[in-house]
Symmetry: C2
Subunit: 179 residues, 2 copies
DNA sequence: ATCCTAATCGGATGAGTCATCCGTTTGGAT
DNA sequence: ATCCAAACGGATGACTCATCCGATTAGGAT
């Protein structure tokens, strides 16, 4: 993002916001389509992002940041609440779920951001375990994957994120984590 | 399958087995590719299956049958075992997981087979609840979705289905279902 | 056995997407 | 003001998709 010529930076930003737009509409990313939406040449998109995966990952960085903010803002005894919010985010954004679950990102930075996130989740988890609210013997990665799993199920079954059925699924996970 | 001319039946079978083949190799189904692999005209594939989704669903019918067989063979106190086997199947076959989780199939028969399966799972669930091994208040659909969720997580994270990490995830679900 | 026709086949083809390549433009250093 | 490396953009060949229709075939009628 730095050391980038001014036009390059502008276009990169345009591309990312166009991609956000398209993703939001549920349309599936094509680098040509993104170029059209961003009003930028196809070549430009391909120079900034060699593959769709790269673009997807960079877009998801924002979601990582968002969750990070939630972690900052959540008060004490936050484990359950965070998990619910996390799941809600994952349900809303399939890409976030996809990138989060996958351990092998294309971009090294994705991997490091994901690792950082797991680190923060581990703190929350440790608190909850110390407070006797979560059983010991589960690690943050497991919690992350469980969140991805329920989120995927909720989305696939087209359940409203706050429907009774969706809550019931999350409830099972929560109970399964209790001491 | 009945009332089909002999050549039509032969081709339909070829197409299905070619599709199985491709899916098994993880390649993603294209109706033209299937035609090539089945050594059949493209038009033939499109007459038998209007869309990829249809073909996918019909292929998955076999998986439904397989799980049904498992349900027959499992002895008493079978809830945990069945769930584990079910998850293993779902991990192995992404298509099975996809079709299972989705309530709106393209083909009516898929929906009815799915419903039938949920009915059988409900029996097993009821047994387990009667035996005090599973808490009341969860329904078979929830169990099905949870299975799809963990399966998805395991596959995405590329965990070996019998690795400690994978077992841990299933364990959380199982515990979450206990009374 | 032969004919007849509706059912089925197959692949040529127009439409649409993908990703590269290269001539043109532009930012910004000197 | 000049220069050139960096960045742009879009024309294009390669590839996939799914339709359409002339050729073929199964299998019942005669």
């Amino acid at each position: 993002m730095d050391g980038l010529r001014r036009d390059a930076a502008r276009n990169r930003a345009r591309i990312l916001s166009a991609a956000q737009e398209l993703i939001g509409r549920g349309e599936d990313l094509g680098l040509n389509a993104v170029a059209r939406a961003a009003d930028v040449g196809v070549g430009t998109v391909y120079r900034h992002f060699a593959t769709v995966e790269e673009l997807e990952e960079v877009v998801v960085w924002d979601r990582f940041a968002e969750l990070d903010r939630m972690l900052d803002e959540a008060g004490p005894d936050r484990f359950d609440r965070i998990l619910a919010q996390h799941v809600a985010l994952l349900v809303a954004d399939p890409l976030f779920e996809k990138v989060t679950a996958q351990p092998n990102a294309v971009l090294p930075e994705t991997t490091s951001r994901r690792t950082a996130l797991i680190g923060r989740l581990a703190e929350v988890l440790a608190e909850a375990q110390a407070g006797g609210r979560v059983r010991r013997g589960v690690d943050a990665t497991a919690v992350l994957l469980l969140a991805c799993g329920v989120a995927h199920a909720i989305r696939s079954a087209q359940l409203a994120p706050d429907s009774a059925a969706a809550r019931a699924l999350l409830e099972v996970i929560l109970r399964g984590l209790r001491p």
